[in-house]
C-alpha cells in the first residue's frame, strides 16, 4: 500500500494528520486548485501524459527561435520539420512500467508567419530542452534603406 499526500512546502510537519496544514492564507484557493490538479496529474499514467508540450517563441533580427520542454526524450527519435510555414516537432520518451518499457510520444505544430530558410533550420537538445533556430530569408529581414536628400 502506498500513501501519498500533497500539502504546501511550508507544511513541515510530516505526520499524515497535517494534510490540510499550512495551506490556509491569502493564496488559499489558488493553492487548493493547484493541489487538486497536481494530485490528479501525478496520478496519471505515463502514456496519459503524452501529447503536447510547452513551447516558447522568440526572435532577434536574423532568426526566429522555438524552445520546447522535452525532458527525457530519446535523442534519435526527435524529429524537427519545417514545411509550408509550419514547424513540426515530434519526440518520444521511454518510460519504465511495472513489467517493461513503454514509449510515450509527443508532437506539436507551430505556425511560423515569417519567411524562413527551410534548409538552414537547425536544432539543439540540451538538458531536456529542444531549441530550434529558424533563420529568416534575406528578403524578410528588416533592412535599412538610405535615402539621400538633395
Amino acid at each position: 500500500m502506498r500513501f501519498i499526500q500533497f500539502t504546501q512546502p511550508n507544511g513541515r510537519v510530516a505526520a499524515p494528520s497535517a494534510r490540510f496544514g499550512g495551506r490556509l492564507g491569502a493564496a488559499g484557493i489558488e493553492n487548493e486548485i493547484d493541489w487538486l490538479f497536481g494530485a490528479a496529474l501525478n496520478g496519471l499514467s505515463g502514456s496519459a501524459r503524452g501529447g503536447q508540450f510547452p513551447v516558447d517563441l522568440y526572435e532577434d533580427k536574423a532568426n526566429l527561435y522555438a524552445r520546447a520542454e522535452l525532458p527525457g526524450a530519446t535523442r534519435d527519435a526527435i524529429s524537427v520539420e519545417f514545411i509550408d510555414g509550419s514547424l513540426s516537432v515530434q519526440a518520444s520518451r521511454k518510460e519504465k512500467t511495472g513489467t517493461g518499457e513503454t514509449t510515450v510520444s509527443f508532437n506539436r505544430q507551430v505556425s511560423i508567419p515569417d519567411e524562413i530558410e527551410a534548409d538552414k533550420v537547425s536544432a539543439v537538445y540540451e538538458n531536456g530542452i529542444l531549441t530550434v533556430t529558424l533563420p529568416r530569408k534575406e528578403e524578410a529581414k528588416p533592412r535599412k534603406i538610405n535615402v539621400s536628400v538633395n
Partner: protein, 128 residues
C-alpha cells in the same frame, strides 16, 4: 506498508521565506522496489549546477534552478514555459538510508535511487 509522503505543491505563494521566488512542483513518479524506491523527476532546463538534493529530518528536498533564461537581445513572442525553479519535498520518515542515495541527471530527467533502511524492510516474525 509504505509511508512516502509528498509535502509539496505547485506555487508556494503562502510561504513567507519563498515569497520572492515562487517554485513549482515538478512531475515525478515513485516506484517501490524490494530494496528501496526509484524516484523519477522531470526537470527540464535544469543542469547539474542548478540541482540540489538534501536530506534532513526525514525529508528529501530536491530543488532545481533553470539555467536557460531568455537570451539577451532577443524579443519574446510567445511564452508557455516558466523560469520558476522546481521544488519537490518528499517525506520518508527516516525509512531510507541517505548515504546510499544515488542520483543521476540526464536530459532534464533526474533518477534517484533510495535505499530502504533495514528497519523499513518487511520482516517475517516467527511465532513460537
Amino acid at each position: 506498508m509504505t509511508f512516502f509522503n509528498s509535502l509539496t505543491s505547485g506555487f508556494n505563494g503562502g510561504c513567507a521565506e519563498a515569497e520572492t521566488q515562487p517554485t513549482r512542483r515538478p512531475h515525478y513518479e515513485v516506484n517501490e522496489t524490494a530494496e528501496g524506491y526509484d524516484l523519477t523527476v522531470s526537470l527540464p532546463g535544469v543542469a547539474k549546477d542548478g540541482l540540489e538534493i538534501t536530506d534532513e529530518g526525514g525529508e528529501l528536498r530536491i530543488t532545481g534552478k533553470r539555467t536557460l533564461k531568455l537570451p539577451e537581445g532577443k524579443v519574446l513572442l510567445h511564452r508557455e514555459t516558466s523560469d520558476a525553479a522546481f521544488e519537490l519535498l518528499l517525506s520518508h520518515g527516516n525509512t531510507i538510508v541517505p548515504e546510499k542515495t544515488v542520483a543521476d541527471l540526464r536530459d532534464g530527467v533526474l533518477h534517484v535511487k533510495l535505499s530502504k533502511a533495514e528497519s523499513a524492510k518487511p520482516r517475517k516474525i516467527a511465532v513460537s
